[in-house]
Amino acid sequence: MSLRVDNLKVWYRTLRGDVQALDGVTFTVADGELVGLAGESGCGKSTLGKSLIRLDSRMRHVDGTVELDGKELPIWDSERMSSFRFKEVSIIPQYAMSAMNPTRRIGRLVAELLESRGVRPDGVRDELLRRLELVGLAPDVLDRYPIELSGGMKQRMVMVISTLLNPSLLIADEITSALDVSTQKAVAETLVGFRDRHFVKSTIFITHDLSLVYQIADSIIVMYAGRLAERAPTEALVTTPRHPYTQMLLSALPEVGVRYSDRRLTGIPGSPPSLLDPPTGCRFRDRCPLAFDKCATQPPFLEVAPDHQVACWKAF
């Protein structure tokens, strides 16, 4: 197993108490697997992505462990984590436009980053150039300032930088959200390309767009209100979803070819519960059309079919 997360709990400190953003998450990611982490806002997917690499000042590690390639990741200790960052765990941030220092030439930025990790820039220069060519960037981009690049180019540059040292785990946090449809496709395919060429071992692709994650992921994890709702291989999740939330989410997606006059899609009424003081039991209970009395206790995340796990009493 490449990545193993066990009962991870990360909460946010706020003036009004602790927001239980990530409340007991357990899963594994195999070597070479591209997992899509999907969910709506507030489900905890970004918290999960961030806690695997860097907890910010408001986040608090409450419980649980993370293991990468057999070694435990000390995510609560930012100093010790810094030896893992960029080399074993890397992240592609969402807004590539602002991710690069505008006052540095890109080549210098990369060199400084490598030096800070104890890697000699000359040693990786050939590899860097090779990868730039792979994503369609000319080598002279290293002499330019970020402002001279377009948004798509910046995104690809950031992707190359983040994966330069061949990390075992790559976290892509909503990297396509602010992009046009055509650039989105190019970026998503580049991500798959990195995995296929063994630049990265495992990838976690965080997004709210289920149809996008369907295109490139090997398996999909759906999160709701800080917990895992369902996990399955991509095709299985989309054709035979077992969790009511997944089912309703899939049926709320408009597609080309579906018209209002032919078939009306329905949304999910209500809104996710507040995680300041979350309800006991299954958190989807209030909005679930299939809820019954057993839902008052939190269902465990169990396997119902090969590699297909759900947290729902009705699915067992």
Partner: protein, 308 residues
């Protein structure tokens, strides 16, 4: 702020499902601001000092039964039970002068600062909201006023006006201290103007003036408040300086005038500290307190500066 940050904090409010901006909206901020205001030491300290002096200005002259310029006692007396701040070279009551001087100080601050605030706001909002030619013209006006040598103008005025009062002085100060206000407000108006709710107000048929007054200005209320405080302090300081060099009002009493007289009549070499230290200290403390209040207010209104 990333989408993810907004998501996690959005979760704290039950009704929000979509990406919620994390900036605490002004109303919750209003109540929060009050909470922080009561606890902010700089704000409390500054406000207390200013209020003490204000009380003194209001009540002080009533405690004396003679005017500031009357010759009431033996000259050059040290402070004593009869004359709390001693007497001047000519036997005038320094305390009475001080109390009356405080009044004129506050008056100048209010009038001068208020005038500058109004002019600065009108010009700033108009330039920021209208843009284009109006903006260019107003910018030119601002720049002209900025470079006029106020001292030279004052000297010229002083030559022609034999008698000068506190009000003309305040007006003069007000007319020359607004440029930075106009610049700052213009910049903020520019950024607020492109927000969606301004567009929505336009779609509701509201005219420019109404939009500025009802939509844009209320969003900057904390900044406008702080601007006024700074202008008040600045006006007090400028008036004291003008009075000190003899370009102030020719009638009445002011703290700067006291210092001017003290220096003129050799209070320093004669060691009559009670004549120039109270007004000097008074000015310093009032203006200093106002500036400290401003820093404190900045912390109250700006969540990022607060020490949690």
């Amino acid at each position: 702020m990333t989408v993810s940050d907004r998501e996690e904090l959005a979760v704290a409010t039950p009704a929000a499902t979509a990406a919620t901006p994390v900036t605490v909206t002004k109303v919750r901020a209003g109540r929060e601001a009050l909470w922080f205001a009561r606890r902010n030491r700089k704000l409390l300290l500054g406000a207390t000092v200013v209020l003490v002096f204000l009380a003194l200005a209001a009540v002080g002259p009533l405690l004396t039964d003679h005017g500031p310029n009357e010759y009431v006692g033996p000259p050059a007396q040290r402070p004593s039970a009869d004359w709390w701040f001693g007497t001047t070279m000519f036997g005038q009551d320094v305390f009475a002068q001080f109390a009356h001087g405080l009044r004129s100080t506050f008056l100048v601050g209010l009038l001068g600062g208020g005038l500058a605030a109004i002019v600065g706001m009108v010009i700033g909002f108009t330039a920021g909201y209208r843009g284009g030619t109006a903006d260019e013209i107003l910018n030119m006006v601002t720049n002209v006023v900025l470079v006029i040598p106020t001292l030279a103008v004052l000297l010229i005025i002083a030559t022609y006006l034999r008698v000068r009062g506190v009000v003309p002085e305040a007006i003069f100060i007000g007319l020359f201290s607004w440029p930075w206000v106009a610049r700052a407000i213009r910049a903020q108006t520019f950024s607020l103007r492109s927000r969606d709710f301004v567009d929505l107000a336009r779609l509701s048929g509201a005219g420019g003036a109404r939009i500025v007054l009802r939509e844009i200005a209320p969003n900057m209320s904390s900044y406008l408040f702080m601007t006024f405080i700074l202008l008040f302090g600045g006006a007090v300081l400028t008036a004291a300086m003008l009075d000190f060099i003899g370009l102030g009002p020719t009638d009445g009493m002011s703290l700067g005038l006291m210092m001017n007289n003290a220096v003129l009549w050799s209070a320093l070499p004669l060691g009559m500290w009670w004549w120039f230290i109270p007004p000097g200290l008074g000015i310093t403390m009032i203006v200093g307190a106002l500036y400290i209040m401003n820093v404190g207010l900045d912390e109250v209104f700006n969540p990022k500066l607060r020490e949690l």
